[in-house]
Symmetry: C2
Subunit: 412 residues, 2 copies
Amino acid sequence: MILKNAFVLRNYSETPQKLDIKILNGKIEKIKKKIEEKNDEVVDLDNKLIIPGLVNTHTHAAMSVFRGVAEDLSFDTWFFKVIDPLESKLNEEIVYWTTLVSLMEMASNGIVAFCDMYMFEDVVAKAVADFGMKAVLTRGLVDIDGNGNGRLKETFKLLEKWHGFENRIYIGLGPHAPYTCSIDYLTEIAKISKDNDILVTMHLFENSWEKEKFNLKEILKTGIANNQLLAVHCVHIDDNDINLLFDYNVFISNNPSSNLKLGNGIAPITKMLSKGLNISFGTDGAASNNSLNVLFEARLSTLLQKKDNPENMKIEDVIKMLTTNGYKALKINGGEIKEGNYADFTILDLDNPSFLPIENIKNHLIHSNPKIFATMVNGKFIYFDGQFPTIDKKEVYKQFTISYRKVIGIEN
Amino acid sequence: MILKNAFVLRNYSETPQKLDIKILNGKIEKIKKKIEEKNDEVVDLDNKLIIPGLVNTHTHAAMSVFRGVAEDLSFDTWFFKVIDPLESKLNEEIVYWTTLVSLMEMASNGIVAFCDMYMFEDVVAKAVADFGMKAVLTRGLVDIDGNGNGRLKETFKLLEKWHGFENRIYIGLGPHAPYTCSIDYLTEIAKISKDNDILVTMHLFENSWEKEKFNLKEILKTGIANNQLLAVHCVHIDDNDINLLFDYNVFISNNPSSNLKLGNGIAPITKMLSKGLNISFGTDGAASNNSLNVLFEARLSTLLQKKDNPENMKIEDVIKMLTTNGYKALKINGGEIKEGNYADFTILDLDNPSFLPIENIKNHLIHSNPKIFATMVNGKFIYFDGQFPTIDKKEVYKQFTISYRKVIGIEN
């Protein structure tokens, strides 16, 4: 396949230029000013901009079923009183369909890859496989209820069945949080992470009371970050914690919408950036955001940091966080449009009044209203001009509604 | 014209229901479950949601020409060093085309009406007239350079030529800010406001140094709020100021993106709301936002207030701020879909994965990713399914680019 006539932003530090891209076996075979080859399918992308695919480094995809269900509540009430009890109603079928709706939303927002933490991850993997997206999937791990081992067994099954599937699906370890995982459990998880060379992702210091109750050094000394730890939220951390996160090479997923909406606060992103930490953006689940749009998170995070100093969070840094940093956080190759990389692209429509003057396009990517035209993963379109070529949209919507009614307890 | 098969949210406090709407002479003639009348043009809006048109209560439309031009700068450097000098290059022709681009952007974001403060407002009015939008236009008033009277004369000309045009264009008075207008000048403006029954709009306490230099009571005692004052920003105000704003019945335009991006801070919206002030949303100009999307402002403002308490800024209040409050702030009729009101509508596409489950649609309006399908002003579509029926888009884009190059000094 040859993508022709588009502007291409090869990576965060360059400026877009007109380039053709030839794709073979899911990878970028050639990038040149003009590629003229017969027998190749040609996709005309005139007046479009191709950028490295956007990455969402934290979500709970199936939680789209809870979108708008628990609003205007504090974190504790939201999670312990409403969401946690409703989650007991979920099953494999429901999670399959509600995950698909989130994949549709993410694809229509230009997201090519994401990191998930939830239950029934076997059907999450099936949804990702069917839809064509790229993902690191983790079964949420908790041992305070005495079933820590059962959840680890699920992880082993996932590893065997899905890890490396079509160079798109990878399995990781998902200890839920310091307040749901014992130190012993984290130590065991750390060992499994190292033995299998897979990443660990964990909610960390999202709430102020976590910071008071738990000690970051103790958590990190379990070895949880020895292979790779993607720590999510990190709102309530001080300068010492930032130094520790750096020393242990911890990757950070910044989820500003969810942090504000649940009243948890603003993560010290500028300080972490200047320390040199790898920060990327996550949407969190649709129950606390309520939208899976990583461009929105990038813009929000940028504005929050500029509040204290408008020179914070410069455009190229933010584009890097959305692309290069996201791939590194997921421990997968990508983030740059170059020969040999997988063809993971976010394609924007330049027929957009909010993208004028076109000369300042990199600023518009973050601060204006980007319109996503298409999303490609490993050389295949998963979203194209309002359509989802890999699935039956009507059937997904129908099954989602049935699922929602079952969970909420509405008679059909 | 009859709009058929859509869901209709008649006002912020109701829930959407399936209703047909008949429009005659720009106004809502009838709203019923089923309207079957021959000889009427029918627009099928199946799977769409009609809500009262969104209002943008503060912008400088022509500033789209400066979008992305001055980034990552403090307010003082941004305004005094970059924007202000560039503004001297503007002329009537440039302002006409760059305003049109902003009208396109606003219409594609569902905005039906806005309040503008800038120069060359005669051609801004022409652009609004040609495009079909609704607006209150104010010539920015400044007297520190000795030309206060000249600008007032422009206002009188605008009043005579445009006030009331097609029940769409209204003229107001736009004293720029306490630091550019003397107390005597404000007193004169107050008198003109009363004599002509037109509103006044002014930037107020956007920066911390304004609060230190100027006294709100002294400003209000000029009579500036006696007819109607729409005060913009109000970031640096204390509890006494809030009481004063209430006593003088001042309307507030909240512009959170611009306030964060220029490092000015967060306005005390929750306090102002609980006092009972009328607050609406403004985008500010595209040079400091950089996007004219009032839904984005509503969401951002809501998240910022929830940071301190997730129970702040409940959904219905926010929808009210976007609609009813906006009309009141602009001193025009509307904000509710009922017989006799002008047909000013924002029409959303419900074929949108981020709007599932559809049962919680009012939450999705603010917290998810609304997709605008069409925008109607006084019964005429100004945006419909990606198209702008009232203008020649290609010509506007072309003339915008020529204008941009003239302003920035790029040789063609």
